[in-house]
C-alpha cells in the first residue's frame, strides 16, 4: 500500500516519514489548544500556514484537512 501523501510504501496510512510527522501533529494539538483555545481544524490550518512547520508535517496537515481530519 502507498502512503496517502507520497508514493512511498505505507506502514498503515502513511509511510515511515509521514507517520512520524503525523504523530507529531497529533501530539502537539493539546499544547496549542491550551495556549490559544484553537479547534482541531483551525490548528491544522495554522500548521499549513506556519513557516516553521516541517514540510512532512505540513503535507500531513493538508491531507487531514482534505479528509476532514
Amino acid at each position: 500500500m502507498k502512503c496517502i501523501v507520497c508514493d512511498r510504501e505505507a506502514l498503515e496510512k502513511y509511510c515511515e516519514f509521514h507517520e512520524e510527522a503525523y504523530l507529531n501533529v497529533v501530539q502537539k494539538f493539546e499544547g496549542w489548544k491550551r495556549a490559544t483555545g484553537v479547534s482541531w481544524k483551525q490548528y491544522l490550518k495554522e500548521l499549513v500556514e506556519n513557516a516553521y512547520t516541517g514540510c512532512w508535517a505540513k503535507e500531513v496537515a493538508e491531507s487531514l484537512l482534505k479528509t476532514d481530519g
Binding site: 516519514f17 510527522a21 507529531n24 491550551r34 500548521l47 516553521y52 512547520t53 516541517g54 512532512w56
Partner: protein, 692 residues
C-alpha cells in the same frame, strides 16, 4: 657518472622552495624530464629535487571482473593505469624511474603526515625500485629556508613506517568499503532498471549522511508550538533601553496579555543592581578544524576552500603546515623572530612591537596535540607578490590569531538591573569592555558589542514606556552547514582532518545533499534507507570510530595492518551477502529514488496559470526539443507551455524574476557566461528592454 641525492617532494611548488633553500646560491637549475619539472641544487653534493603531483599510486582490484562484488583482492598501481582522467601521471612515474637510476641516496621530503609519508613511500617502492628501506626522511612544518636546511642536515634515518602503515591501511580499508558497497548499490540499481547511475557510499560517507538524514527528518516532521514573549522599553535619564521580562517564554496568550495589562506605562523600582567583571582568556591557536570554522563564520568560506587557500599560503612559506590537529605552539618555532619579521608590515607594526616589549611571551594553548606538527602559525615571511583577497583574508586571520594568543586577558563588565513593576520582574542589561587585552590583536574578528546603561541605583524609579506581547513559535533544530558538519564529524571522530572536507564535497557531488544550509535530498534519504535496512553497520558512526582508533594504534605500532584488514573483510562479508540476497528490492528502491531525484531536478516552480501544477522542463520524444510545460497537462487540466533555448544546458535556479515573480531558469552555453532566463513572454523587463 656522478651520483646524486634524489629528494622527493609532494608538489612542484614545494620542490622549488626546497631546492632554493638547499642550493648554496639559492638558485637551483630548473629542468624538465618529459614535461615534469625538477630542480638540481648544489650543496655538499648534487641534489636532484623531483616533485610528485599528489598521489601517483592508487589501489585497484586484482583479478576478477569489474561488475561484480565482493572484491577483496587488490594491489597498488600507478594511477594512470587505473583512472581515465590520470593519463598525465605516466610522465611523473617515468621521470622518477629515470632520475632514480643515477641516485645513490634517497630522501622523502613530502609533507610530514599520513598522506605525505605514503606518497613518498609509494614512489620509493614502486618507481625507484625498492628504495623505501634505505631512504631518509626530512621532517619540517614550514617551508622556511632555515627549517628546511635543518631538516636536510638532520634527517630521520629511515622513513616513518608506522605512519606509512597507518596510511596504507586507511586507503585499503576505505577502498574495500567504497568499492564493495558502491558497486553493490550501483549494480543493484542497474540490474533492476537497465540503466547506469553512479551511487556511492563509504566508511565515512555513510555515517555522515546518516546523521544529516536524522536531523533532516526531525526538521521535516517538526510541528511548532506557540509561546509569547514580552518586549518592553524603559526610560532612564532621557534615554530608552530594552527591558527583558523575567520569563523568556509564556505558554498561554491569556497570561501574556495579563502581563502587558499590568505593566504597560507603569513605573517600577530598581530593587537590585548587579555588577560583574568577567575575565576572558585569549583564544587558542588554530588547528585545521578551528581555522576552517572561523573562516566559515567570518567569510563564509567552505572548509574545503579554506584548506585549499591555507595550502597555497603554506607553499608560499607564509604559514606553517595547515593540516594539523595541534593547538600548541612550542617555543622552538621562535615567537620573537616571527613577531619581529611580522613587524615589517605596517598593519602589524604597532601590535607586534607591543608584544615584543613583553618580558616573556607565553601563548595560550588548547588541549589537542599532533605529534607531527604544531598549530597553524605565520612564518613571519611577508608576501612577495600581492595576495588575492581570499589568501589575504586567511593570512591576516592566522597572523592576528597568532598575535592574539600571546595577548593578556580581556576584562569585561556586565551590569544587570532588577526592576520590579507591579509585581513583575524586568531586567536591564549592559556590558562594556574595561580592558581590551588580546582583543586588540584580533580586533576585526572579535564579536563583542557594547551596551552602555545610564547609571542607576537601588530605589531609582524607572518607567516602562512600552510593553508589548510578541507571538512566537518554537523553531526546529537548525540545519548543518559545511562548517558545523565538519565540527560534528570531528566530535564523532569520523574521518580525518585531511579527508573530512573532501567527504562533505562528495555528498554534494553525488546529489545526496544540497544547499549551503545542508538539505538531504530524496536520493540521500533513499540511500540511507536502503543501507539502514540491508547494511546497517555501514551507516554506524561506531564502526568508523573503532576503525579510526585502530588506525591510531597502527600509527603507534600497537596493531598490525594485516589484522585490521582481516577484520574489515570479515565484517564486510555478511553485509555484502545480505545485499546480494536482496538485490531486487534494493535495485527497485534506488532506481525509483534516482528517477524521483531526476524529476525533482527538472521542476522549475509552480505554474502561474493553474496554480496547482509544477512547471517542468520536458523533452519531447517526438521533436526531441525541450520546453517548459505544466505537470497538470497529463491530467488534462492545464496546457501552459513555454519555449526554451535548444542549445546549452538549462537548469532551474530556484529564484524568481525580480520584475514579474515568475520562476527562472539558468542557461549555460559553451563560451558564454551563464544567464538567468525569465520565460514569461509578458515580463515587464522584456518590454522595457525592447523599448530601449
Amino acid at each position: 657518472m656522478r651520483k646524486y641525492t634524489l629528494i622527493i617532494t609532494e608538489k612542484p611548488d614545494a620542490a622549488k622552495r626546497i631546492a632554493e633553500a638547499l642550493d648554496r646560491q639559492g638558485k637551483p637549475k630548473n629542468l624538465k624530464e618529459n614535461g615534469v619539472p625538477y630542480f638540481i641544487a648544489q650543496r655538499d653534493r648534487e641534489l636532484v629535487v623531483v616533485p610528485a603531483i599528489g598521489h601517483l599510486y592508487t589501489i585497484v582490484q586484482e583479478g576478477g571482473k569489474r561488475n561484480q562484488y565482493p572484491v577483496f583482492n587488490f594491489k597498488w598501481t600507478p594511477r594512470h593505469l587505473a583512472e581515465r582522467k590520470a593519463k598525465g601521471i605516466r610522465n611523473w612515474v617515468e621521470a622518477f624511474s629515470k632520475l632514480s637510476h643515477d641516485a645513490d641516496e634517497f630522501v622523502s621530503a613530502c609533507d610530514y603526515d599520513i598522506e605525505g609519508s605514503l606518497i613518498g613511500y609509494c614512489i620509493l617502492k614502486y618507481a625507484c625500485g625498492g628504495k623505501e628501506t634505505s631512504a631518509k626522511r626530512m621532517k619540517f612544518s614550514t617551508l622556511m629556508k632555515s627549517e628546511l636546511e635543518k631538516a636536510y642536515e638532520e634527517p630521520l634515518p629511515s622513513l616513518d613506517f608506522a605512519l606509512i602503515e597507518a596510511g596504507r591501511t586507511r586507503h585499503e580499508v576505505d577502498w574495500l568499503y567504497g568499492i564493495n558497497l558502491s558497486r553493490a548499490l550501483t549494480l543493484a540499481a542497474r540490474r533492476w532498471s537497465g540503466r547506469y547511475s553512479t551511487l556511492s557510499t563509504g566508511r565515512v560517507q555513510g555515517p555522515a549522511l546518516q546523521f544529516l538524514a536524522k536531523r533532516e527528518k526531525t526538521i521535516r516532521s517538526f510541528v511548532p508550538t506557540p509561546y509569547w514573549q514580552i518586549n518592553a522599553e524603559a526610560e532612564i535619564l532621557n534615554s530608552v533601553v530594552e527591558a527583558e521580562y523575567e520569563r523568556k517564554r509564556i505558554e498561554t496568550r491569556a497570561e501574556a496579555d495579563a502581563v502587558v495589562h499590568a505593566c504597560a506605562g507603569k513605573t517600577g523600582e530598581v530593587i537590585k543592581v548587579n555588577i560583574k567583571t568577567v575575565h576572558q582568556k585569549p583564544p587558542i591557536p588554530f588547528d585545521v578544524g578551528t581555522l576552517q570554522r572561523e573562516a566559515y563564520s567570518l567569510f563564509g568560506y567552505a572548509p574545503r576552500r579554506t584548506l585549499a587557500i591555507a595550502q597555497r599560503l603554506y607553499l608560499d612559506a607564509l604559514i606553517s603546515y595547515p593540516r594539523t590537529s595541534s593547538q600548541k605552539l612550542p617555543p622552538i618555532i621562535g615567537y620573537k623572530e616571527i613577531l619581529s619579521a611580522l613587524k615589517r608590515k605596517r598593519a602589524y607594526t604597532k601590535l607586534a612591537s607591543k608584544l615584543l616589549e613583553k618580558k616573556t611571551l607565553k601563548p595560550r594553548e588548547g588541549a589537542k596535540e599532533d605529534p607531527a606538527h604544531p598549530a597553524v602559525y605565520p612564518t613571519g615571511n611577508l608576501p612577495k607578490k600581492p595576495l588575492g583577497i581570499p589568501e589575504k583574508r586567511i593570512w591576516d586571520l592566522i597572523v592576528r590569531r597568532f598575535m592574539a594568543v600571546f595577548g593578556e586577558e580581556a576584562l569585561k563588565e556586565s551590569l544587570k538591573v532588577h526592576l520590579d513593576v507591579n509585581g513583575h520582574s524586568f531586567f536591564l542589561r549592559g556590558r562594556r569592555i574595561l580592558k581590551e587585552g588580546w582583543m586588540e590583536y584580533y580586533k576585526p574578528y572579535v564579536r563583542a558589542e557594547e551596551v552602555l546603561l545610564p547609571r542607576t541605583e537601588e530605589g531609582d524609579k524607572i518607567r516602562l514606556r512600552r510593553v508589548t506581547r510578541e507571538d512566537k513559535f518554537t523553531c526546529p533544530q537548525s540545519r548543518y552547514n559545511p562548517a558545523s558538519l565538519l565540527k560534528k564529524m570531528e566530535e564523532l571522530g569520523i574521518g580525518t582532518k585531511a579527508t573530512r572536507a573532501e567527504i562533505i564535497q562528495t555528498l554534494y557531488n553525488r546529489g545526496y545533499v544540497r544547499d549551503e544550509r545542508i538539505v538531504v535530498t530524496e536520493l540521500g534519504f533513499d540511500v540511507i534507507d536502503v543501507l539502514g535496512k540491508y547494511a546497517p553497520m555501514v551507516t554506524s558512526a561506531k564502526l568508523t570510530q573503532e576503525l579510526e582508533a585502530k588506525m591510531e594504534q597502527i600509527q603507534n605500532n600497537r596493531v598490525k595492518r594485516e589484522t585490521v584488514l582481516e577484520e574489515v573483510v570479515e565484517q564486510l562479508k555478511p553485509q555484502l551477502e545480505q545485499f546480494k540476497q536482496n538485490e531486487e528490492p534494493i535495485g527497485e528502491a534506488l532506481t525509483k529514488a534516482t528517477q524521483r531525484a531526476q524529476a525533482q531536478e527538472r521542476i522549475v516552480g509552480k505554474c502561474p496559470n493553474c496554480g496547482t501544477g509544477n512547471l517542468t522542463i520536458i523533452y519531447s520524444r517526438k521533436t526531441r526539443k525541450r520546453f517548459i510545460g505544466c505537470s497538470n497537462y497529463f491530467k488534462g487540466l492545464c496546457t501552459t507551455s513555454f519555449p526554451l533555448p535548444q542549445r546549452g544546458t538549462v537548469k532551474p535556479t530556484g529564484n524568481n524574476c525580480r520584475a514579474c515573480g515568475w520562476p527562472q531558469v539558468l542557461v549555460w552555453t559553451r563560451g558564454r557566461r551563464p544567464w538567468n532566463l525569465c520565460f514569461n513572454p509578458d515580463c515587464p523587463l522584456k518590454s522595457r528592454r525592447k523599448k530601449t
